[in-house]
């Protein structure tokens, strides 16, 4: 009985939170036209969420590519198709691994930074002070950060995929000696524009989800050190789960 009550209570909390987040997204979309009139604020946040994430995205991308090169070559060697390494890796990275891993890294780096920054602004009365100065914190603080994240994610995804393919090429061509021409020409033959688009769409969807979760959690954080910490943790956990769930949904729609 207690278990059932806890499950029901948990579901109630989940639905209440999902409803609040939907309203929050609605408000953001409503004020987006006004927010777009201040591109400088958005550009600053593209720098914060995007440019400052480049190091971790590129480093991770390179190593993901290197590992894919090793594993992919081992797998393909068993069926005598090593020359297909480039195509297989490119398709896997573009359609699946690139957007998902980028989103998880984005949530860990930029998402937590966004949530803790906004949460701390809440805890130190900066958001209230803005509101008292007749400046809407949703427009001035939250919206530029949300849009900055949304713009950054597809770009980061593209960079991650490019660096990863370079990593695969390092292993496949430089280390295992696959023919360079065959590696690239086969990739060009089999990878279609729709594959690239799928990756970018996923990047955009994950960008919307991860940025929304981060700004929502930060904005609604309890104004205490513990509250900001909880908001940051929730940002990572909810973003990771949302990314994987959305990945399934988007894949099912696009395939």
């Amino acid at each position: 009985m207690t278990l059932l009550r806890e499950i029901l209570s948990g579901m109630g909390d989940f639905l209440a939170r999902a409803g609040a987040m939907t309203r929050f997204l609605g408000r953001l979309l409503w004020i987006t036209p006004a927010g777009l009139l201040r591109p400088r604020l958005i550009a600053d946040q593209v720098y914060n969420a995007g440019a400052l994430s480049l190091a971790i995205i590129m480093t991770s991308g390179l190593f993901v590519g290197l590992v894919m090169g090793l594993q992919g070559h081992d797998l393909l060697a068993r069926i005598g198709s090593e020359e297909s390494l480039g195509t297989g890796a490119a398709l896997t990275l573009l359609k699946e691994l690139g957007p998902v891993v980028t989103a998880l890294l984005f949530a860990g780096r930029a998402g937590t930074a966004l949530a803790s920054e906004i949460g701390l602004m809440r805890a130190t009365d900066q958001l209230t002070a803005m509101d008292i100065m007749a400046v809407d914190p949703m427009k001035r603080v939250v919206l530029p950060r949300f849009l900055g994240g949304v713009i950054s994610m597809p770009l980061l995804t593209a960079i991650f995929v490019m660096v990863s393919i370079f990593g695969v090429q390092l292993i496949g061509v430089q280390y295992f000696g696959i023919d360079r021409g065959q590696f690239w020409s086969e990739m060009r033959s089999f990878v279609e524009l729709s594959d690239v688009t799928e990756g970018l769409i996923k990047g955009l969807v994950f960008g919307i989800a991860c940025s929304l979760i981060a700004v929502f959690e930060g904005y609604n954080a309890e104004p205490t050190a513990e509250g900001v910490g909880r908001a940051t943790t929730r940002t990572v956990v909810v973003s990771a789960v949302a990314t994987l769930v959305l990945d399934y949904i988007v894949t099912a729609i696009l395939l």
Partner: protein, 285 residues
């Protein structure tokens, strides 16, 4: 005694041009816990009004009602003749542009330097030429004695300096009402004296009305024209510092003289002391 106090409490609470803000019969509760039970407060135009009272009596809540951050469950809150609860968001923002507020810890924007913090309301609310913004900001910073700190970041400021920068920001739009939430909290005596003098001199020089929430009875007595003491959700005494000094109410005496025990008990409600000490197991906690 109760009716006398009530009479004293509501003295001056009349609608009209002489009041910049007026709270009448305000009831407000948080999570079923009543904070105000029929609160009547009038803030007179051009004066420094102090709001005092023991911790947890709703002093900051009163400021939040005046600034329209929260709405009363019952009663009216009028600022400059406008019912705050009835204002739309744009109307509320128009009203807030005529208010300045100093937060307890300054609430400076940590990603902007001192100059940009003070310029922030101007840049967001008024389209002014950069030269004019610069002049206004430097004038206000000069008024609080921090023109030389214009390029410091908030993290480089002491508590007193941060409070003064926040004050410069609060007055940069030339408000009609200045609201101070615990302006002396955590300040050393020199900074406290500086902020105290600034509150009084800005009020007189700019011809504005000021509301100061504070526990610091002595400091407030030197700058306030009138004071309200809140307790138990209502005003227990009001008047000039001299009138409050001579007030016979036990709770006013306890508050002004800083007595540990009295109408506001020293001990939080608890079971019998010896009984609890001698108890064992769960009952001992």
């Amino acid at each position: 005694m109760g009716s006398q106090l009530g009479l004293a409490a509501s003295r001056g609470v009349v609608a009209g041009e002489e009041n910049v803000a007026l709270l009448r019969g305000v009831h407000f509760a948080i999570d079923q816990k009543p904070i105000f039970r029929g609160l009547d407060v009038a803030l007179r135009r051009g004066e420094v009004t102090a709001i005092m009272g023991p911790s947890g009596t709703g002093k900051t809540t009163l400021l939040r009602l005046i600034t329209g951050q929260i709405r009363a469950d019952a009663g009216t809150v009028e600022v400059d003749g406008q019912d705050v609860a009835g204002l739309s968001r744009p109307e509320l923002y128009a009203l807030r542009r005529r208010m300045g507020m100093l937060f307890q810890h300054g609430a400076l924007l940590t990603d902007l330097d001192v100059f940009e913090n003070v310029a922030f309301p101007l840049r967001e609310n008024a389209r002014l030429p950069e030269r004019l913004v610069r002049s206004l900001v430097l004038t206000k910073l000069h008024a609080v004695g921090l023109r030389g700190a214009a390029r410091l970041m908030p993290q480089q400021l002491s508590g007193g300096m941060a409070r003064r920068v926040a004050l410069a920001r609060a007055i940069v739009m030339d408000p009609d009402i200045l609201i101070y939430d615990e302006p002396f909290a955590g300040l050393d005596p020199i900074s406290m004296g500086v902020v105290m003098r600034l509150i009084r001199s800005l009020n007189d020089a700019l011809g504005i009305s000021s509301v100061v929430v504070s526990h610091d009875v002595r400091e407030i007595a030197q700058i306030a024209d009138q004071s309200y003491i809140l307790s138990e959700g209502t005003v227990v005494a009001s008047g000039s510092p001299k009138e409050l000094h001579d007030h016979p109410s036990p709770i006013v005496r306890q508050f002004l003289e800083g007595l540990a025990d009295g109408p506001v008990p020293f001990h939080y409600p608890a079971p019998d002391y010896y009984g609890q000490l001698l108890a064992s197991g769960k009952a001992a906690r």
